[in-house]
Symmetry: C2
Subunit: 342 residues, 2 copies
DNA sequence: TTGAAAGCGCTAACAG
DNA sequence: CTGTTAGCGCTTTCAA
């Protein structure tokens, strides 16, 4: 069957008007009379007209599409934030084209290329934990393409940034722990060449210093943001008989890795070893025990990122990049709520 | 600064060849000599050429894009399956355009329209739990647009389907429970006008019947696939003093709702009330207690869906729709592993 | 092996 | 208010 898709020309012929008139009417252009607009629209509907965005965007030079690059999507944080970005972008009449880098810098680069080839009007990017070469991003900026970086941000100047207050959040959590009485505190940190690794570490370090608690080198590990880091590091410390009293995990997956290892070793949380992490999830409440955390308001991050991007897209000449930091708050559940020396 | 993007014409002029030659060379067309191809490619790279997919797709009438419509993405199942679809599709040199319906049929309809306007070559769809009007899908089929439905599938004939063996999985789980000694079994079911609601219920019912265990009407609820259903229904049963021994939850979120309610009421799982659910997650292992489930191999579903769609796209004339069912298996953890009368 | 002509479906600019 | 003319950047004939 495969009836050919109807196009403007078909509608125009049927009504004995020009293609331009139809095009304008369908877009509610003020040029066209109410009368005409109404008839054209009804005929278009009746004929089952579907606009061709490829053609529209090609000729208008605006795609009304936002490209998104995230390292993961089946992930507590990125799943959430992606969904929020869709919502806000759609609200603002933008389509979003999502790409997933799978924590792979090569793929990340390719994704950006693809998005550019699709002629997106702007990009929202969160980089992989492995990204070391930032030249792609630099090129983007040089080419004047509107970009907003969220959460995992490359160390570049003059870029749009939306992120949680990573330093402040970590500082808050560690201060809380120390006030409880904790002194043997470990930090399973992220890599130091990425902001969330760096800033969360700095917050940890500063809080320790301000409270005169020493930071032990063997209690600071640098292993990325996934379960494996939490699991492996915990196992190592256990074998070395150097378990701390509290572990501050750089992300929720890292904390989950700790839970895994602890269960395997028959250690009880929080009695034998206590944990707190950066980042909140619905399920943390149902873990055993419920996991306390530093909450970063995902929807605020998404909303600000979309807005910032739109601002940038609407004002590409002499645009000055902005940095927005979103406040965090502590959510205390079944961990890190009172100190009992191990 | 904003240096204009370079196009074929620029490369052609620089090399004193025609646009066509450049176009062909860049696509490795056999028309062009190895020599020429090499020079053109290197110059293109040097000039920072980025192909314009809008133009390319418009003129070639093939977009090499797959449209995906899912009800959610920040979700244990849909997040996973989306990521897998990206992987397989990219492997096959297709871009995927993801849209999220937010369990809203209106948005679902709009998403499909958008995807068609973007000229995707085919669609992978999982419908919302609220979708009652299936005419959009019927239109799609009539128009001969390649579509594959996954997991949540509308009741239509002659469509491509990839789903878990919902009936068999449920049957397996309930049989297991009955063999353990359970008789007072409730099913927090999904809506009955959608396959996963219907089939999982049928599996439950059949297993009960085959083992001569009565199905109590007040132990079968129909409340959708989210946490709220689990929570509300549990609360109601508790108030009515009609708690069963075991709850079979139609999805993992529903089971989570049960966990929530039980915790709030101070009831212990599995001692006071036992639970098993359809669908597996990484975190189930870390819940308290670890939640047993019927596992549906997500990546297999994704892979089959992409392959089926590509087959359909490559053979649009006289294509015969297929239905693929993926086997499930029981994963036993801390629930539904032995019967102790409550 | 290369290229000239035509056109994909639509919109912007201008004229009537 | 409506329509004509051009053209977006690329690919597909088809001729040289």
């Amino acid at each position: 069957m495969q009836n050919k898709p109807v196009k403007l020309k078909n509608i125009a012929e049927k009504l004995n008007v020009s293609v331009v008139t139809v095009s304008k009417a369908l877009r509610n252009h003020s040029d066209i009379s109410k009368q005409m607009t109404a008839t054209i629209k009804s005929v278009a509907k009746e004929m089952g007209y579907t606009p061709n965005y490829l053609a529209r965007n090609l000729s208008s030079k605006k795609s009304h599409m936002i490209g998104v690059v995230v390292p993961k999507v089946a992930h507590f944080f990125f799943g959430d934030i992606t969904e929020c970005i869709y919502d806000y972008a759609n609200e603002k009449k933008y389509e979003v084209i999502l790409t997933v880098s799978q924590e792979n810098p090569e793929k990340e680069k390719k994704n950006i290329q693809t998005l550019l080839s699709m002629q997106v009007d702007g990009l929202i990017i969160s980089i992989t934990q492995e990204t070391k070469d930032f030249s792609v991003f630099r090129t983007l900026i040089q080419r004047g393409i509107p970009v907003v970086f969220i959460d995992r941000i490359p160390p570049l100047d003059n870029i749009n940034i939306v992120e949680a207050d990573n330093f402040g959040g970590a500082y808050k959590a560690i201060t809380h722990a120390i006030n409880l009485g904790y002194k043997k505190i470990a930090h399973f940190a992220g890599y130091s060449d990425i902001n969330i690794g760096q800033e969360r570490f700095r917050g940890f370090e500063q809080a320790m210093k301000d409270n005169n608690v020493p930071v032990m080198p063997y209690w600071v590990s640098r292993g990325g943001f996934g379960e494996k880091h939490g699991y492996d590091t915990f196992m190592e410390l256990y074998k070395a008989k150097r378990l701390p009293d509290l572990i501050f995990a750089v992300t929720y997956p890292v904390a989950l890795g700790v839970y895994m290892a602890a269960r395997e070793l028959g250690l009880k949380i929080p009695e034998d070893i206590d944990v707190i992490c950066f980042g909140n999830t619905k399920v943390q409440e149902f873990l055993s025990p419920p996991l306390s955390c530093i909450n970063q308001p995902v929807s605020q991050i998404a909303q600000n990122a979309v807005q910032l991007l739109i601002d940038n897209m609407n004002n590409r000449e002499n645009y000055v990049p902005k940095k927005i930091e979103i406040d965090t708050n502590l959510i205390l559940r079944g961990t890190c709520i009172n100190f009992n020396s191990k």
